[in-house]
């Protein structure tokens, strides 16, 4: 009965189309295919083809033809050891160490802030965001300020000059400082992701465990931690990937002791115009991450459930810390002040110093903020706020960061929905995998491909190149790994029954999303918004290729200043960026219920 089969097929298709996993998942997959997979495929394909330039490396190069030369060169030639194996080992060690440290640091902080009655929560959770606001090279520099030894010359670090202790090389450069600096910078991801998960967790689950006589540590280890596992794992993968792909810190702290990572080798290849080599290197990173994500999917598993937001609500109770309440709070505050406020203040102070490093009152000036042209300073460069393009750049930055962070948060949640609810489904898993790639495609490569892809109208996509839109697109795409992970982790906590209850009341998916899922994940959304906003405000690599003079941003302005060596002006812009982010953060907390310390449902 072919006709019956046809009817069946049609109905099946129809009911699939009605299933949000499919009707969101399929378009999402198509979109991701275009904006991520397609560039990656192109990236892969370049690694198997001779390019004209390859004649430089191999005389046998035959442009346009298939070759395994590049893979061979990276993986199995006499140069492989220093070019690939040593750096990848370093990358992995740094990646794992950073992840582990960040998880420890972030989870503990998150637990204290969300699940206990520790005082000063708001302030502490605010302070935790600050290191992420600072560009990571500032943190590296701050490290050197303390631990620099005579090896790299110049002014010695505080330890050496004041305490006359010569920090050994391993403490001053290489693995240890790289790991610690990235940890301080990125653990906010763990804090926010895991914090959102923790605060949504039904406290009865903890209570039930403590009634069996379990110590707090056991409760943490056996109940709390595994329950927020999706968030922990997401945070782990994010941090791991961020660490292995980070360039600034290892370049500054690793180079003096020849501590190379894949990211630094990759950057070097790119600068030497050995694009294919760079592509091969980034593909190896992608492969590693794919494996990590696969393991993650296995751990999160089919059956295991992480639902902690159920339809039987329980009052959220906070663990009483008792007498240790204040000591804990003070310790955290001090720690965060050292990690966050000190570097920030140093930076701020610098913007008021006419000459760097001269600590006298007369050296203080507002010149770099809004001074006029003075030929004696910076060859007549005006204060940053007086720069003609400052306002334009500010406007552009705000537009890009504002719009893209809102879009990214929503898109992340929507795609996260497919990933979370389609865990058992090939579609969900594929979307999960693909959405993670952007972190590993070097920003420059992605941007370069986007010029080709968006310079001309393709299908229904208009020519976006040269407009702000493309900057928004690429920012959203680049942040997808984070937003999708955050979204899916948050949604995994929510019992599907809550959605079903709305469905049965006749609510369409959109209504369900808007009225049920969005509010239930609002904390996670707020974190996503905030971090994407910060990321977008700081982003440089990605947009530098895509900006045109009309789309100048604050970061391209700092690029200009930095290249000219106008340190104070650079810092002024940085302070402006930080100021904006802090304002946005405070506004979000005030009006967007983006409170990172409170329990769900506004039960305050």
């Amino acid at each position: 009965m072919p006709q019956a089969r046809l009817v069946r097929l049609r109905n099946h298709t129809l009911s699939r189309l009605r299933n949000p996993i499919y009707w969101i998942g399929v378009p999402a997959l198509l979109l991701l295919t275009y904006v991520i997979l397609w560039p990656v495929v192109k990236l892969i394909s370049t690694t198997f083809v001779w390019k004209v330039q390859d004649a430089r490396l191999a005389p046998q190069a035959n442009p346009g033809h298939f070759t395994l030369f590049h893979w061979h060169r990276v993986l199995a030639s006499d140069i492989s050891l220093p070019l690939f194996y040593k750096p990848i080992l370093h990358s992995l060690v740094v990646g794992v160490s950073v992840s582990v440290l960040s998880l420890l640091f972030g989870c503990v902080l998150a637990w204290f802030v969300t699940r206990t009655d520790m005082p000063l929560k708001r302030m502490i959770s605010f302070l935790i965001v600050i290191p992420y606001l600072l560009p990571n090279w500032i943190l590296s520099r701050a490290w050197l300020l303390f631990f620099k030894n005579s090896k790299i010359g110049g002014t010695p670090g505080i330890l050496q000059s004041i305490l006359h202790i010569t920090p050994p090389d391993w403490l001053a450069y290489g693995f240890v400082p790289i790991t610690l600096t990235i940890t301080v910078h990125d653990s906010v991801f763990v804090f926010l992701l895991v914090g959102a998960a923790l605060s949504a967790m039904n406290s009865q689950l903890e209570e039930a465990a403590s009634l069996t006589g379990a110590s707090r540590l056991t409760v943490m280890r056996r109940i709390v931690f595994p329950l927020v596992m999706p968030s922990v794992l997401s945070a782990f993968i994010l941090i791991f990937t961020k660490a292995i792909s980070s360039y600034g810190v290892p370049a500054m702290l690793g180079t003096p002791v020849n501590f190379d990572m894949i990211s630094t080798m990759l950057y070097a290849s790119m600068r030497s115009r050995l694009m294919t080599e760079a592509n091969v290197l980034s593909l190896t990173l992608m492969a590693i991450t794919m494996v990590t994500i696969y393991i993650n999917q296995r751990v999160i598993g089919k059956h295991r459930s992480y639902i902690t937001v159920t339809g039987k609500a329980g009052a959220q109770t906070l663990t009483a810390l008792g007498r240790s309440k204040w000591p804990v709070a003070s310790m955290m505050t001090v720690l965060m002040v050292i990690l966050a406020v000190v570097p920030l203040l140093i930076l701020l102070l610098q913007t008021f110093m006419l000459k760097e490093g001269v600590y006298t009152l007369s050296n203080l000036t507002m010149h770099y903020w809004w001074g006029g042209s003075d030929p004696a300073i910076n060859t007549g460069e005006k204060g940053a706020l007086r720069n003609d393009i400052f306002l334009l750049a500010l406007k552009n930055s705000l537009t890009i960061a504002g719009i893209s962070s809102v879009i990214a948060a929503i898109v992340g949640l929507v795609i996260g929905y497919v990933v979370a609810r389609g865990r058992q489904n090939w579609l969900g898993r594929t979307v999960d995998q693909i959405s993670f790639l952007p972190y590993l495609i070097p920003g420059i490569s992605l941007a370069a491909m986007y010029i080709t892809m968006f310079a001309k109208p393709t299908l229904f996509i208009p020519a976006l190149y040269g407009t702000i839109a493309i900057l928004i697109v690429i920012t959203v795409v680049k942040e997808l790994p984070f937003t999708v992970k955050a979204g899916s982790a948050a949604l995994m906590q929510i019992s599907p029954e809550l959605e079903e209850a709305a469905q049965i009341s006749g609510a369409s998916w959109l209504t369900r999303f808007r009225r049920i899922l969005l509010p239930l994940t609002h904390k996670s959304i707020a974190s996503v918004f905030l971090l994407v906003f910060i990321g977008a405000m700081k982003e440089m690599e990605l947009i530098i290729l895509l900006v045109t003079p009309r789309t100048e941003t604050l970061t391209t302005l700092t690029f200009y200043y930095a290249e000219k060596g106008y340190d104070q002006l650079t810092n002024v812009i940085l302070m402006v960026i930080i100021g904006i982010v802090i304002t946005v953060y405070l506004l979000a907390v005030r009006f967007g219920k983006a409170d990172l310390t409170q329990g769900i449902g506004g039960s305050s």
């Binding site: 019956a4 009817v7 069946r8 097929l9 049609r10 109905n11 099946h12 129809l14 009911s15 009605r18 059956h303 937001v309 159920t310 339809g311 039987k312 609500a313 329980g314 009052a315 959220q316 019992s495 029954e497 809550l498 079903e500 209850a501 709305a502 469905q503 049965i504 009341s505 006749g506 609510a507 369409s508 209504t511 009225r515 049920i516 509010p519 239930l520 609002h522 329990g599 769900i600 449902g601 506004g602 039960s603």
Partner: protein, 387 residues
């Protein structure tokens, strides 16, 4: 018209075959109760009807719409079935106040604001939770949450209302009030109600039909009294009735007699109308504790019994008695002041004795008449037969 027609529905969850060929028809305006042991698939069937669980096989019609048809792959979305469900686990939205939870369905239906407000208020008042309007579910007690869940489902006045143990966390008094409210809905709005409960009293008093489930299958669908008095299998008989464990089982065998067949049991010989089954086959008689009357006076058809134990429980008392090797549990109303060891007279109601095939457990539909005590077994303790 039928509100729901279920034909050969099969459902597997994660490879576990949960519903095994369910056939069930529920007429419009019916108050149907699902009874069955924990884990037998009641919730799953409700979810299938509501459209929250997909069926592997079978068809489901709701009203005159086809909702599920595995053959054609047809599937009607949950939101279009005109069904509402009170979840066993409430499924309250923790981020909405009680008012918002209840108003949600009406807002989705785009009801004007004042009407929404009015209807929500009425529903809350009916559930006795008016004063909790502005609270969040996390700030409510278990029973209060459960009532919010009911209010949320009834406020939209669905054509079909599914309730999954909706009163399990309410006290007796509230439960009676809530039942009255459900009855009102059922009468006034002609809502078809499917009700899952473990409270058999509730099942008996509320429903017009009861479906009994075992292990993913429907084993009996009947009017409550019929079900109570004539359980179709031993399994159902054992399950039904609060008595559960106290049901009196009397073993026996089919023996031949002049008129046809009779049953040899420890009660005595029972005469039956017509053929029961193969001679020699083992059977079981069941007799509920409340179908035996205990009195101080020897009356017609009564049997002398010794009191072995007394279990008072407030409004009624269970008395364990013995007549030779036969042990009988008897239920009496109120307090029974009787001494253990004393002798009383028990009078079973013949028409309430059910006869089952021991092997298959099926009810044998044969009226029973008492004939004669087995003199050789019970010398002193016998029924004095005077008919």
């Amino acid at each position: 018209m039928n509100a729901i027609e279920i034909t050969n529905i099969n459902v597997s969850i994660h490879g576990k075959h949960v519903l095994k060929g369910i056939d069930l028809t529920i007429a419009k305006g019916e108050f149907m109760t699902f009874l069955g042991p924990s884990g037998c698939g009641k919730t799953t069937l409700l979810r299938t009807i509501a459209g929250l669980q997909s069926a592997d096989e079978g068809t489901l019609r709701i009203g005159n719409k086809e909702a599920v048809n595995s053959a054609t792959g047809h599937y009607l979305e949950a939101s279009k079935r005109g069904v509402n469900l009170v979840f066993q686990s409430y499924a309250l939205w923790p981020h909405m106040t009680v008012y918002e939870n209840v108003a949600f369905g009406l807002q989705v239906q785009k009801l004007p604001k004042d009407q929404t407000q009015a209807r929500v208020r009425v529903a809350l008042a009916n559930m006795r939770i008016s004063e909790l309007e502005t609270r969040y579910p996390g700030q409510l007690s278990g029973g209060q949450q459960q009532r919010v869940a009911i209010a949320r489902a009834i406020v939209t006045e669905p054509e079909i209302l599914l309730l999954d143990e909706p009163l399990s966390n309410l006290d007796a008094k509230l439960r009676i009030e809530m039942r009255a409210e459900l009855k009102r809905l059922h009468h006034e709005l002609k809502t078809t109600i499917i009700y899952v409960t473990h409270d058999q009293h509730e099942a008996m008093t509320l429903s017009t039909q009861v479906a009994v489930f075992f292990g993913g299958k429907v084993v009996q669908v009947d009017k409550p009294r019929q079900l109570y008095h004539r359980p179709r299998t031993l399994e159902v008989a054992e399950f039904i009735g609060n008595a559960g464990l106290h049901l009196n089982y009397i073993e026996g065998t089919i023996v031949g007699s002049e008129g046809g067949q009779r049953l040899e049991t420890s009660l005595g010989f029972l005469e039956v109308d017509g053929e029961v089954g193969e001679t020699g086959r083992e059977i079981i008689l069941t007799l509920k504790p409340e179908d035996i009357r205990l009195s101080e006076m020897m009356g017609p058809d009564s049997l002398a019994v010794h009191i072995e134990a007394v279990f008072p429980s407030g409004s009624e008392t269970l008395v364990q008695t013995r007549a030779g090797e036969l042990s009988l549990m008897i239920r009496v109303m109120g307090d029974m002041e009787v001494e253990v060891g004393s002798q009383l007279y028990a009078k079973p109601r013949m028409d309430r004795i059910n006869l089952y095939d021991k092997m298959t457990g099926r009810l044998l539909e044969v009226p029973i008449q008492f004939i004669q005590p087995r003199e050789e077994l019970h010398h002193e303790n016998r029924f004095s037969h005077s008919r």
